[in-house]
Symmetry: C2
Subunit: 303 residues, 2 copies
């Protein structure tokens, strides 16, 4: 089978054998933002046509490809939602051959007695697949998970079902501050080496409870007064935003969190969680492929 | 005398009579960002040369014109600082004729036992003049003040001296989210009418203690699920960031805050403060002219 993670900015695919092991992986800068309506079949054919030659080829996709701006809109499943609900609500692009995994929606408590804001909706697309893959890989039924990134997701799983989740615009805030704010004049313009100490100092300050609106400005003043060298500032700022994200989570000291993401990001979160007294179990892209493979196993196939 | 508020993005001036009353005001889009090093005298002459014709003309300026990127660097006064210290440390561009009021610096508690971050510096330029002007206009010796804007300043005054202050990047965060984030795709691109109810709902949600990293995303989902109309979203987002700023202030219910700024902004802060149970006394540009005029009175002049 072919497993696809088709997101906003990238398109990644893996060819899996019957045991779910990865035979080959490919990655393209063809996120859905680069694809015009109607062009999805052609992009798919160009990138993965050769892998779909076999007569019983099956392709499952997750991510923003199932949004209104994607190939085919796959309506959200409402939380709480388990693996079985997701697998039963695939949106078929070509029946029996190409399908999209639905995203999830949930509602968090908003403002009591204000009708239109009593409950505030949240959404995910793609992360649900990584989560069920991770639960299977780790043999877990109950967990708190975080999927860090542009829009980090914090996810509560109980008895194998996703109960609720919430989105934090952590990666996007970092990029906005890094590239478009007054801080961009102080921070070095190119990439800098990761500065462990400065990152941990940023996390520590954020965990002390100051608002990000205030701590972000310290990136500028610490530089103005030569307290931190310019090369340390990006790591310090990264620590401030990730620390703010962690501060907002109800986690007990001594508890454990599953972190799913790239190695660079999961390592940062592991360091930051340690400063909060919380252990991390880290997983990478494998969670996506395992999740899609597990969904494929639920389908009654001709062969 | 001539009083000037020369900031990052704008240049405003007022001609005052001997009682400190405003005779005439002028405003130019000639903030220091538009002025090259060495060009300050020429810009000054073009904008205000006619007002400086009198033989005993005096000009006092406050704002970023005293920064390293300004006309002449006026070293910061350290907090606590009173009116007398500010007035005694003017940086003279032309002795007896043109001077710049120094800004302030202070240090807030940072991370204990981390040498370079035990104290975290903060700075202001221009606001100190507005503050002393406001204290004089209101006859106050003790007050909590806020000067909202791109970088809001919260200022503690005791016995007529500025004890400490802190900067919140509220206006800049709003602009970043409005113009450069994923929310910019959901929000209307042009100006919209201020929506009181949506603003107050944003403030209320922020005051409940959620992180801005999370509440900002609700601007998108509330729109996706048609809970808020697009025209209400800018006011809602403004409420979220201002509410986050207010949540971070240690203010008792029933207390009072002096708000100095444009009418549009001070009205928003007054509404938001009311939801926090705090009263507001609002002041505008007059605070700057009064502050500069009061400093001029301390100078021994030939006539």
């Amino acid at each position: 089978m072919l497993a696809l993670d088709w997101g906003t900015t990238s398109l990644r695919g893996a060819r899996l054998d019957v045991q779910g092991q990865v035979l080959e992986e490919r990655s393209f800068a063809r996120g859905i933002l680069t694809v015009q309506a109607g062009e999805f079949p052609a992009v798919f054919e160009t990138c993965f046509g050769d892998w779909m030659q076999a007569p019983d080829a099956l392709c499952l996709m997750s991510g923003m490809v199932g949004s209104r701006q994607g190939w085919l809109e796959a309506p959200y499943c409402a939380c709480p939602a388990g693996f079985a609900e997701i697998a039963a609500q695939l949106a078929w692009v070509e029946p029996g051959r190409i399908a999209i995994v639905p995203g999830l929606c949930c509602e968090m408590d908003g403002i009591p007695n204000v009708k239109r804001l009593e409950r505030i909706p949240d959404v995910m697309r793609g992360e649900e697949t990584q989560i069920f893959g991770a639960l299977q890989l780790l043999g877990l039924q109950d967990a708190l998970l975080v999927l860090p990134g542009t829009h980090s997701k914090w996810v509560q799983v109980r008895a194998g079902r996703i109960q609720s989740f919430s989105t934090f615009m952590t990666g996007e805030f970092f990029a906005l501050l890094r590239q478009h704010s007054i801080l961009s004049r102080t921070l070095p313009s190119g990439d800098t080496e990761f500065d462990d100490a400065a990152f941990e100092q940023g996390v520590t300050l954020a965990l002390r409870g100051h608002s990000l609106l205030q701590t972000a400005f310290s990136t500028r003043t610490l530089s103005l007064f030569d307290r931190l060298p310019a090369t340390a500032l990006p790591s310090y700022l990264s620590g401030l935003v990730i620390g703010e994200e962690l501060r907002a989570q109800p986690m007990a000291v001594g508890s454990s969190v599953v972190v799913i993401g790239s190695e660079a990001l999961t390592q940062r979160y592991q360091k930051a969680l340690a400063l909060r007294g919380v252990a991390a179990q880290c997983l990478g892209a494998k969670a996506t492929w395992t999740g899609l493979w597990a969904i494929a196993q639920t389908l009654a196939r001709p062969n």
